[in-house]
């Protein structure tokens, strides 16, 4: 027994209130989601200049678009005049400018204020100074990432660094050419659970043999309960009889040409803190973006990415998509079953992590550190 009163095999989770208290969630919004790089959209969702998406990041609505020069731009979706929400649609396309529907303040794609009623009679109003407030943005792996921090942390260290930490080097992910793949399927899951339950679930495989019969059939080593993320640079190997990463183990689609021999017939999983989860298999990539909506509600947007000719050729992707769609539904059902227990009196001090889940303890330490609520263990 240690000083925590737990046997050595077990370490404590976060307390139940960490998953149910709106004040904790507000602090997470402020100190995690509004501070770190946050993946908001597939680059092809805003393929052309003027195409846009509005996304909630933390407590803010963010407008993401593409300027005439093809660069990605992100702005606070708030009119500089009287604060009206500039774009109310989730996605769309403007020809030339964003116009506030209240007083018609009009901004070009670079955020500059280009017109407003009586503006020429106010020559002292700076058109950049009163343009849309911009947010840092990047394109990587064919996704658009934004950071609301005034001084964004290094993208290379935080985002690329998480991928390198899992795969061992940055080249390993480049083999999959994720930016060059096409979206074959997108499914959006609305999950009635705290975002941390979803991330924790992604991190461990102790549950795999119980709730993922199809996945453990394809990846037999998952029955041991050690997630691919338990090791550095380790990919779970397909079973001997398995032809491809599909719901029935039948052959998959065309293999991504860059995938190395030692990556073939293997499954890799990466978590990019705080809200991205990526699966790599030889013929496709599954890219999850987790969007915390409330303390007990999380939206997970999941893309299945294939070689462009596979998608354009109208190949039947159903068996390929169905494997991880089932895994997701099994996982999210488990998370939804767990959420009510978080507010049980019995769970006030939290639960325990078994050895194959101990790396989740590091995630908990990380959350506490971000929130400034680190406690002695």
């Amino acid at each position: 027994m240690t000083s925590t009163g737990l046997p050595d095999s077990l370490i404590a989770t976060l307390p139940g209130s960490s998953y149910t208290d709106p004040a904790v969630f507000a602090l997470e919004q402020e100190r995690i989601f509004e501070t770190m790089w946050f993946c908001v959209a597939r680059a092809s969702d805003i393929a052309k200049p003027g195409a846009f998406r509005t996304v909630d990041v933390g407590r803010e609505s963010i407008l993401v678009t593409r300027a005439r020069d093809g660069s990605v731009r992100a702005y606070f979706n708030v009119c500089r005049h009287r604060g009206a929400k500039l774009c109310t649609q989730e996605s769309g396309e403007v020809a030339r400018a964003f116009q506030c529907p209240y007083h018609a303040w009009t901004y070009d794609l670079t955020g500059k204020l280009i017109a407003a009623p009586n503006l020429t009679r106010m020559p002292d109003v700076g058109r950049t100074e009163f343009g849309l407030a911009s947010v840092a943005s990047r394109e990587w792996l064919g996704y658009v990432w934004v950071c609301l921090a005034e001084h964004p942390p290094s993208f290379e260290e935080d985002v690329v660094g998480d991928v390198v930490a899992r795969l061992g080097d940055a080249e390993a992910v480049e083999h999959y050419d994720i930016g060059g793949l096409s979206v074959g399927k997108r499914i959006v899951y609305d999950v009635r659970a705290n975002w941390k339950l979803i991330i924790e679930n992604f991190m461990e495989c102790y549950h795999c043999a119980t709730i993922h019969p199809e996945l453990t059939e394809v990846l037999p080593e998952f029955t041991d309960g050690l997630a691919a993320q338990y090791y550095v640079g380790h990919g779970a190997e397909f079973g001997a009889e398995i032809e491809g990463f599909t719901v029935d183990g039948s052959a998959g689609m065309d293999r991504i040409p860059g995938v190395a021999e030692d990556q073939d017939r293997r499954y890799y999983a990466i978590t990019v803190k705080p809200q991205v989860f990526i699966n790599l298999v030889p013929d496709h990539v599954i890219f999850h973006r987790v969007r915390p909506a409330a303390v007990d509600r999380t939206v997970v947007e999941c893309d299945w990415l294939y070689l462009p000719h596979v998608v354009d050729g109208g190949r039947d992707l159903s068996r390929s998509v169905e494997l991880f769609d089932r895994v997701n539904r099994q996982d999210f059902e488990a998370c939804e079953r767990t959420q009510p227990g978080m507010s049980s009196r019995m769970y006030a001090k939290g639960g325990v992590l078994v050895p194959s889940e101990h790396h989740i303890g590091a995630f908990h330490d990380w959350v506490r550190e971000r929130l400034g609520t680190r406690q002695p263990r």
């Binding site: 018609a104 009009t106 280009i114 017109a115 407003a116 009586n118 503006l119 020429t120």
Partner: protein
Amino acid sequence: MIPACRLADLPRGEAFRLDSDPPVSVFHTDAGEVFAIDDTCTHQDASLADGWLEDCWVECPLHASKFDLRTGAVDAPPAKRPVRTHEVVIEDGMIYVQLSTAAPNLPACVAARLAGAGG
């Protein structure tokens, strides 16, 4: 005639706004023609020089009424009245505007301000 700017300083597809009262804008079309019209939309106080030039039309940046640079005619509401057109003369690479003597069709608030300023 009022000197506006040098032709060489006004690229095709762009506009130059003269701070006359009421303001006038000179447009250089993609086809290479130069036109001058009143800068203020007849619907609301907006600068047409800030609008979007396409062929011989300029679209108001606020509510999308389009004005024909050749005649001043408006295509569709919310603007209902035409803008004045002004004669353009180019001499030695300099653009000059001969202001129209017709009464301008300004939006109500701008017209009232001009009336006040003019005594």
